[in-house]
């Protein structure tokens, strides 16, 4: 089959968590542009409906399903509703997450609740969603789980605990899923975005010089990677985390001022 046809997702259906904004919305739109129908999960209905309207512009179906992804009961309901609506689900994008829990506190100040909130939002959510759907994937011999970690999954940061730790856990979850279901047609991969600001304010843009690329990621750059990983063209990939970070992890020393010396505009 010609290579561009192997990227095509026509006939596939994807559940995307955190589909109401930012990277989750972008991945939903790209998967839809590649032919997939979308089940959008997220805390609030209104942003999901906004994503839904944009998905429908690609002539794809969209089910908005408000979900608390830190509740296994709610996640099981999400998967049941998705299967009831579409019959077969092929792709799960574990995108929901966030870094607000316990922010600004030092280790002794972090409460049990802060710890559980941070780990649950980023790691438990992906575990619950994967657990809820994997038997369905195994039954029809096909499934793509795409997790979303962060450059912080590789790095240590001063007085940040739950976010980097949970994101490192997501990388490990990706490998565990890959190993556990390799013989069942299920592939598990992970996207590690670098800095993708929610909005490009002047203040944000002023910090772009600290990035090796001299810029942040653009939201529209995340979707095509999800399309590739969800597609038949990535059939021999599993367990792998793909960095899309403008070289941030490879550069490592950049925050120390080791930025490229090529003149701007050269």
């Amino acid at each position: 089959m010609p290579i561009l046809d192997r990227f095509d997702l026509t006939g596939r259906t994807a559940i995307v968590t955190g589909a109401g904004s930012n990277l989750g919305r972008e991945m939903s739109l790209a998967l839809a542009a590649a032919g997939a129908d979308i089940v959008g999960a997220g805390r609030r209905l209104e942003p999901l409906e906004e994503t839904g309207a944009m998905v429908r512009e690609h002539d794809r179906q969209f089910l908005a399903r408000p979900t608390d992804v830190t509740s296994s009961e709610d996640v099981n309901g999400l998967v049941a509703d998705a299967i009831a609506e579409f019959g077969t689900i092929d792709i799960l994008v574990n995108n929901a997450g966030g870094g607000s829990a316990g922010r600004g506190k030092t280790l002794p100040e972090l409460t049990d609740e802060d710890w559980h909130a941070g780990i649950d939002t980023n790691l438990t959510s992906a575990f619950f969603c994967s657990r809820a759907i994997v038997e369905h994937f195994v039954e029809h011999g096909f499934g793509r789980i795409i997790n979303v970690t962060s450059g912080w999954g590789y790095r240590g940061q001063r007085h940040r605990f739950m976010y980097p730790i949970s994101k490192a856990g997501v990388i490990s979850l990706t490998k565990a899923l890959a190993m556990s279901y390799a013989r069942d047609g299920v592939r598990s991969t992970c996207i590690a975005p670098g800095a993708f600001p929610h909005e490009m304010t002047d203040e944000v843009n002023n910090r772009a010089g600290l990035q090796p690329a001299g810029r942040f990621g653009r939201l529209e750059e995340i979707g095509p990677l999800a399309v590739f990983l969800a597609s038949d063209a990535a059939d021999y990939m599993s367990g792998e985390t793909v960095l899309i970070d403008g070289g941030a992890i490879a550069a490592g020393l950049t925050p120390a001022g080791m930025v490229p010396t090529i003149e701007e505009g050269a």
């Binding site: 561009l4 790209a30 090796p212 990535a234 792998e240 070289g247 490229p260």
Partner: protein, 256 residues
Amino acid sequence: MAFFDLSGKHALVTGATGPMQRAFAIALAEAGADVSLTTSTTEMAEEVQANSILNECWSIGCRGEAVTVPLADEAALETAVADIEVRIAPIDILVNASHVAPVGPFLDTSSDDGTALFNSNVATVLSPTRVVGRRMVERGSGRIVNLASILHDRGVPNTALYAASQGAIVAFTKALGIEWIRSGVTVNALGLGFTEELAGPQHDPELHAALERYIPLRRLANAEDLQGALVYLVSDEAGFVASELLVVDGAITAHG
């Protein structure tokens, strides 16, 4: 397809003499690129193979040429690249696909063997990257993809020289990717596991059988398995992917 269209791009695939390089050239052509190829020697078998690959690309509808040029001879390479850019188009995509994988105990190898292997696997990446990359940096855009085996950080006996050459390519990719990142040129590597199409220790029948049991996806890679990752990495859509080793290995490294 909404993504990864390479129409209007001109790709150069080096070392275009085997089934892996053939699969790369075909994928680039299918995605819409014009594809040119290099072979290193004027041996009949290599030229026949390169022309056969080129014919297949032409039948898909692309333009392109096959040129014979020793990849580590930068003066010759400079002339060949200049010519091909005039006759076809500026090169937007460089796939450094020349690759050999000798196997054997380290103590059975000589210093000359080491030099020869680094000439075959590393110089063939450095020189085309310098010659073609300079043009890409001047134009402010380009995509370079190197091949690198996961053996660069797996301890597999009897592959020490080969593993060292692969480590060199990974390190080169990461450093150069950052050096050029603000110029619009991305440098990435495609991480290979054990493939049916390339030389390597996997062709020993006993090891081949063991690998089929050990690799989580239960088979060695075919050249087709790597086409998607290559097309993704060289596409406009991958502009924020740099200095990356994108591993397509049937989940071997998930296991360790």
